[in-house]
Amino acid sequence: MIFSLAVYAAPYSSQASYSAYKFAMATLEQGHKLHRIFFYQDGAHNATNLASPPQDEFNLQQAWQSLAKDHNLDLVVCIAAALRRGVLNESEAKRYNKPSHNLADEFTISGLGQLVEAAVVSDRLISFG
């Protein structure tokens, strides 16, 4: 089966992103294809590389990155949601004259159409918010 996930909540302030992460792991363990994980609304905060939780706490941003690296996952952040919340890649930072950029490795910024495309391509689309 082809799965895609949509993540709408910020990490830490709510459990939903963590649930999405655990669900993603389970789909991969069962041998399903994970076409895309799309981060929208406050889910965009999952993609910052500046989050610095205490050492003894689960680091979800980092966990997404290593999962993506291990399984070659497509982690996409909605550009409109990301820009509004201050999550920028290098080219957007340049475009808006910002002093720095903070999009974590393994994440890409793209349009909302990527969520719709994921729905078109996937057998199941599961939302976490």
């Binding site: 089966m1 709510s14 655990k22 389970a26 689309l125 599961i126 939302s127």
Partner: protein, 102 residues
């Protein structure tokens, strides 16, 4: 065709479970996760309705890690099936689509 409903909010402070119960149909499944698992305990505001739906063929599941995390194992209402993430994935396959209430 049937729908899997997921609930991640406590029924003590949100109406998501009530809304879900109003529209869910025969053969649908309901999965309680995160704070939604407070809906699985005997004193939950919608406990009676939930039991009625179970009698009518709707399956109700709760994510075991969320139940255990909140210390609810001894407070569970009957006929609620405890599942892990592997079974959660399987449930999304068994139903045609998933409605997340939050």
């Amino acid at each position: 065709m049937s729908t899997l409903h997921t609930i991640n909010k406590s029924p003590y402070s949100h109406n998501t479970l009530t809304s879900c119960l109003a529209v869910c149909s025969e053969n649908d499944g309901i999965l309680l996760l995160e704070d939604g698992v407070f809906g699985a305990i005997t004193s939950a505001p919608v406990a009676d309705e939930l039991q009625k739906l179970i009698q009518n063929g709707i399956s109700v599941f709760a994510l075991i890690s969320d139940i255990k995390a909140r210390g609810l194992e001894d407070k569970l209402a009957p006929n609620i099936k405890l599942v892990d993430y592997n079974i959660f994935v399987q449930l999304t396959i068994n139903h045609r689509s998933v409605q997340s209430w939050y």
